[in-house]
């Protein structure tokens, strides 16, 4: 009976490997190379134990803990401890993203496009599709684990030993498997791949947030998040394996549930049912802007809420931050208040920069929806009505623009509310608002570039994500990793004055705004003359 249900799994798995013969190796190589590459740079960046000790103190700061996770082995901050502390959370998150995308691609997305239907008509079991997907993705995670483990060990750095390296790799693989299982479950619940993708990323975001709050304030809370849990392996320090077993156990249960739901539901159906809707459109839905807004209503609201919560999460650590500054003589010595600004203010500047880059994500997403509409062949019919290309594109630009202002505002507001509640001497609302909104021009540059790509090279719109990740990397980790200044200069976010620490620079802000406008105008010009849907 069960064997029947899984009939054809291996053939389908081979078929999946064939379809992903480029994508899978690219993911594997990118993830392993990033882990090993950054780790390899540590000895040259921090050659002496003294420098590592100073680094360790910085890493103990609750604001940093909220972002990258708890620090283990402060007293003896070896390269291994450093790797575990600074790299594990990022790499585990990257592997989770890989798993979410791969699983959706071969489950709900295929089903939605009617590709599973053909396969089901063959002598293939009902669970074979999901089985093959999880088999391939599972193997990919095993490969990530082994390659990372061996790669790290092969660096030959003294504190990066075999046991710790393997645990590091296995932690990545195990978290990957857990998110593959969670995604497989969501793919059963919703009827669309968009819905499943949204839920899966929401789960990942929630896991990150719960961990951030937990790592700062409550060990129990942190362990409830799969991301928090896996950091409890204390790689290269104590090398604990129980978090791996718990993660894999939970993954098995979730995967089992996904298989069960897959077996009992109809093809194409989900469990979160679609309700009957309106027979007539509202007044609002009658213009290209109305359409753009209506289509993205849900994700707009979800992002707005998420950014507000993110701001609040960062703000909430500021209470502990004060205490931390009080207790740490070393920090006081390290960063004398010569500049006339408190450490709190300096961290505020960094946190707001990070939040602005998060805001750039929904802004670019809202715009690039027009690209995915085109790939789904839905732009034709809109353009065949009396809608000009410029108007269509500018509707999406307007929506993204409004989102940039609103979401930066919400993010800053969340931050201000939570930090004022936590601090004895809170920041002024105006101060935080200014420090938040000053990033708008940099976000608009990202928006302009997205328009430019969409107008001239729609296949390349994915580059915008690379650029945002790059910006995040150099702005957030640039100082920590001592990256050269040249690398920082090529992102708009590094040219924004970091209020309240820096003085306002109207010139930089004006240049960024102008750049954004030019890129948008060029993008519109390109969009007006190119073929749609080719």
């Amino acid at each position: 009976m069960l064997r029947d249900a899984f009939r054809g799994t291996t053939q389908l798995a081979r078929f999946i490997l064939r379809r992903d013969r480029v994508q899978l190796p690219v993911w594997l190589v990118a993830i392993v190379a990033l882990t090993v590459g950054v780790t390899a740079s540590f000895p040259s960046l921090y050659p002496t134990p003294e420098e590592r000790a100073i680094m360790a103190v910085t890493m103990e700061n609750p604001a940093v803990v909220a972002m990258i996770g708890p620090i283990y082995g402060v007293d003896d901050y070896t390269y291994g401890a450093m790797t575990g502390n600074q790299m594990l959370l990022f790499m585990v998150t990257a592997v989770a993203v890989m798993n979410i995308l791969l699983v959706i691609r071969h489950t709900r997305s295929d089903e939605e496009h009617g590709r599973i239907e053909v396969i089901r008509s063959l002598p293939v079991g009902r669970l074979a599709g999901l089985g093959a997907t999880l088999l391939v993705v599972g193997l990919a995670n095993v490969a990530v684990a082994l390659l990372t483990g061996l790669g790290l060990f092969a660096l030959g750095i003294e504190s990066i030993d075999f046991a710790g390296s393997m645990l590091f790799g296995v932690a990545m693989g195990a978290t990957g498997i857990a998110f593959a299982a969670v995604t497989a479950l969501f793919a059963q619940l919703t009827e669309t791949s968009r819905g499943a993708t949204g839920l899966s990323f929401a789960a990942l975001g929630l896991a990150y947030l719960v961990r951030a709050v937990g790592d700062v304030s409550s060990e129990t809370l942190a362990r409830l998040s799969p991301l928090g849990l896996i950091l409890r392996t204390e790689v290269y320090v104590r090398n604990l394996w129980w978090p791996v077993w718990v993660t894999l156990g939970v993954a098995a249960v979730v995967a089992g549930l996904a298989f069960y739901l897959n077996a009992v539901r109809d093809l194409g159906a989900g469990f979160l049912r679609a309700r009957p809707g309106r027979e007539h459109a509202t007044k609002f839905l009658g213009t290209p802007f109305g359409l753009a807004a209506r289509l993205q209503r849900t994700s707009f609201i979800a992002w707005a809420v998420a950014l507000f919560v993110l701001g609040a999460a960062y703000g909430s650590v500021f209470g502990d931050l004060d205490a931390f500054f009080e207790s740490s003589e070393m920090i006081k010595m390290m960063l004398p208040e010569a500049a006339g600004f408190s450490l709190g203010e300096q961290f505020t500047a960094l946190v707001l920069a990070v939040m602005a880059m998060f805001t750039a994500v929904p802004v670019a997403l809202l715009l690039l929806k027009l690209g995915s509409e085109e790939r789904a062949w839905r732009v034709d019919t809109v353009l065949a009505a009396a809608v000009s290309r410029r108007r269509l594109l500018l509707s999406y630009v307007t929506l993204a623009f409004l989102a940039s202002v609103l979401m930066q505002g919400l993010c800053g507001l969340g931050f201000w509310l939570a930090s004022s509640a936590a601090m004895e001497e809170p920041f002024g609302l105006g101060q935080i608002a200014a420090a938040s909104f000053v990033y708008l021009p940099a976000i608009w540059v990202m928006l302009g570039l997205a328009v430019l790509l969409l107008g001239w090279w729609p296949k390349g719109t994915g580059l915008i994500w690379l650029y945002i990740v790059y910006s995040f990397f150099v702005v957030y980790l640039g100082d920590l990793l001592r990256l050269p200044d040249g690398m920082k200069r090529v992102t708009p976010f590094s040219h924004v004055p970091q209020l309240p620490v820096d003085a306002m620079e109207w010139g930089a802000v004006a240049v960024l705004t102008l750049l954004a406008l030019v890129a948008t105008a060029l993008g519109v010009a390109g969009y007006r003359r190119r073929d749609i849907g080719v």
Partner: protein, 297 residues
Amino acid sequence: MAVLEIRNLVKRYGNFTALDGIDLEVKQGEVYGFIGPNGAGKTTTIRVVLGILRADAGEVRIFGKDAWRHAVELHKRIAYVPGDVNLWPNLTGGEVIDLFVRLRGKSSAARRDELVRRFDLDTSKKCGTYSKGNRQKVALVAAFASDADLYILDEPTSGLDPLMERVFQECIAEVKAAGKSVLLSSHILSEVERLCDRVSIIRQGKIIETGTLEDLRHLTRTNVRVQTSRPIEGLRELKGVHNVVETERGVTFQVDTDELGSVISHVSRFGILDLQSAPPTLEDLFMHHYKNAGGEL
């Protein structure tokens, strides 16, 4: 005046030439059939006409204006039904119809509701849950509910049941009676035969035949079955006669339509008992042209 005028249209995808010098003219009040095998270039032509693709050479004029440059203004007078109807899975059919009608400009709520009723469409369902035929109905209702002057329909009925196909044909007749023009691409030849005044056949990016059905019929063969009192002599040798087959109930053969007169007068000399002739169907025409133009069908 020509409502739609295409002159020497060329469209390339990379180095593949999808359209290789298309000429086509749709007159006011005319229903124009556009037929051809899969991949011939019908959809590509239509997408250039709508200004969704940019022509590499040639000219497309609608109501005398350039189709690319004046796209928006022209689209106010055009209704379009795509071949693959792709709709937003999370909007209802009713919402999509209203959206399209509003984006196009002129509309009549009464006409919309009447069409919804005639096409028997549940407009409260999300498009993601519609069958192929129902998605097509959404596009058809949206098209016919707007007060257009030119209707461009790309295989609009490939998913409709016979009842709905009938409603569709009525709609075309109403539109035509109102003096509007229609460009109809279709694989359903009986439908084209019934509805269209003129037809163009496209093959591998080239128009290989254009004309009224009558014109085209003259280019091909009529099927004839005849019973005579005496055996017909010299039938096979006659000019324009093909595929002669003797059966128990007479002889069947095909005649080049322009030789029909002389063949019948020859046959009549042998005492006709029964004679049936069937004009070539569009299907015969279609086959004839595919085979002639290249032979590799």
